[in-house]
């Protein structure tokens, strides 16, 4: 059994129609549900056009529930791109195999330099990102990168090609704590159109990736859809359904959601549906009201002015100072970025903004010793308190 069975029972068009049919009374009913009791039908109401008139009460509820669960804190992380080599054609992506751009795979000494640069930003949580090139950037390569990162970072996540369960188990043993794997769109027909070639064209294999991760015993899984590929409301409902399935099936794993919107990049892809700032706020609040526990992450794809206001509405995790090209921090800053960064402030600047807003920045939220490794910030004496 996997999430494929659940998704196959959902018809895209009738789901979309159901969301668009929701009325104000459905939204009001959804907003009376106690914490932890929102049904997926209620969730449809909260992402429907009818809920646009309830943005302020939704934002207040989302803020309160987030503070109750996570306090006045924001986690901070930075991505580290290891490679832009990719064997897939994804018609919307700057790294797509048919884009004629210089390709780069960081070697060990380059990885070390980039890790040191990310660490110097104050980061303790790093996200490894690659294109999808399983032969050259597969488990053995990633394992080496983890061995290098573990010495300096308490938490190592990755966003790479889907792997089999065995691959995930090997990397968990090497210090992997969390994997982000986005379905891009849950509409099979659209998916086929955007992913004509490469391993990624296998919709079901990608869809079952979170199941394989759950079975491998990963600590955290990030889900999401890429807004702009199909109707964002229907895709977001599928993400919510996926989240609920995962929470019930792999109950020891933590979950995070992201809501990337397509940004300008190499190539001429134009989003077929536009998610406005209003829409995004509505979606963030709806996810929070659906789940008090899920972590909600916002990247530097979003503009600084939007992030400065939106982080209080349900977000728990922010990236900052990000470079989205391999070697982007120090080794080779001129290579092509996967997408354009909209918030170019340093982590220190973002942290300062958060402090001024009454939030504490959490840089570290795990310790490698819990996994049986040497701590990333080694203890050589009792802390002087």
């Amino acid at each position: 059994m996997s999430f494929i069975d659940t998704l196959n029972r959902l018809d895209w068009q009738s789901t979309r129609a159901s969301i668009l049919d929701k009325r104000a009374s459905d939204v009001e009913r959804a907003l009376t549900r106690p914490v932890g009791h929102l049904s997926l039908d209620d969730f449809q109401a909260l992402i429907s056009p009818a809920a646009a008139d309830y943005l302020e009460p939704m934002a207040q509820m989302s803020h309160e529930r987030t503070v109750d669960r996570f306090g006045y804190t924001q986690q901070m992380y930075a991505p580290l791109y290891l490679s832009n080599l990719c064997s897939n054609i994804c018609t919307y992506c700057g790294f797509s195999a048919n884009n004629k751009i210089p390709r780069k795979i960081l070697n060990e000494s380059e990885i070390e330099k980039e890790l040191a640069a990310v660490k110097a930003l104050g980061m303790d949580q790093v996200l490894f990102v690659t294109g999808e090139a399983n032969l050259r950037v597969g488990v053995p390569y990633l394992k080496k990168a983890f061995d290098l990162a573990r010495r300096q970072f308490s938490s190592i996540s990755m966003e790479v090609q889907p792997l089999d369960q065995e691959g995930y188990e090997a990397l968990i043993d090497a210090g992997l704590s969390s994997v982000l794997v986005y379905q891009e769109t849950y509409n099979r027909e659209s998916y086929a159109k955007y992913h004509p070639k490469g391993m990624k064209s296998n919709f079901d294999y990608r869809l079952e990736t979170p199941d394989r991760l759950g079975r491998a015993g990963i600590k955290k899984i990030g889900l999401g859809a890429l807004s702009g590929l199909d109707d964002w409301r229907t895709d977001s409902f599928m993400v919510a359904t996926h989240l609920r399935y995962m929470e019930q099936t792999y109950w020891k794993t933590r979950y995070s959601l992201s809501f990337p919107r397509i940004r300008p990049h190499e190539g001429d892809f134009q989003p077929i549906s536009v998610m406005t700032d209003h829409d995004l706020v509505q979606l963030i609040c709806a996810y929070r009201i659906l789940s008090s526990e899920v972590e909600l992450s916002m990247s530097t794809r979003e503009h600084a002015s939007f992030r400065d206001h939106a982080y209080k509405l349900g977000i728990t995790t922010l990236s900052a100072g990000s470079k989205t090209n391999p070697g982007g921090y120090v080794v080779d800053p001129q290579t092509l970025e996967q997408f354009e960064i909209s918030d170019e402030r340093s982590p220190a600047e973002v942290a300062n903004m958060l402090r001024q807003g009454g939030y504490e920045v959490v840089w570290k939220d795990w310790d490698a010793t819990y996994d049986g490794f040497k701590s990333s910030n080694a203890v050589d004496r009792t802390l002087q308190i």
Binding site: D68, G71, E247, Y359, E360, D367, Y370, G372, V379, T382
Partner: protein, 258 residues
Amino acid sequence: MKTEPLIIAGQTFESRLFVGTGKYSSGQMMQDSIRATGSQLVTMAMRRVQLDGSGDGIVEYLERDKYNFLPNTSGVRDAKEAVFAAELAREAIGTNWLKLEIHPDPKYLMPDPIETLKAAEILVKAGFVVLPYVHADPVLCKRLEDVGVAAVMPLAAPIGTNEGLAARRFLEIIIAQSQVPVVIDAGLGLPSHAADAMEIGADAVLVNTAIATARDPIAMSAAFKMAVESGRIAYQAGRGQQSVAAIASSPMTAFLDA
């Protein structure tokens, strides 16, 4: 009026309010709030502590001369991880006191009774003063007592729910039969909940979220301080007999006087 002090593992506590360090908007706010609670025992998640002393918003704001520290294992999922976390805490914080919490379920944060008992046994043997966070399960609390924990910390309600003593009947049994101090933890959302816990005979309570996320954490700290003191005094004073209604006649036994 003074209440008698609480003693856990030979350590004396004048305050029966234990507090946490999470969820505050700043280290300074945490420091000011904890001062206002009058607490002498402060718990902190080791996963958050920067071991190189590089500033985590917690440790540098805690005044070592004022508080006893109770590092906790929050975030660990099994006994093995808990033992690693405990060893880290002992080395980094310089105390053998430990709040043992193992919750493999990140959604409801329910403690795992099996792993907790297993870890408690190992850690007590390794010289730790163990205070385990557990369900309000009377048998589990006795089993933990048997392996040598210094106190038990049963939950009042699911963590973060602010429901007060949802597990009241089970907590009453635990308090009635425990030979180690009972510290009620989790679910106490209001000072009245803390007073309630103290009135039924809890030895202490642990509060974090209700204070840290209050609009005015310092004022809420003071309110919890008073509630805990009040509840303890009420418990010692001994409550009057409860009755649902006044007993006006004795229809079942009136024949005896006829």
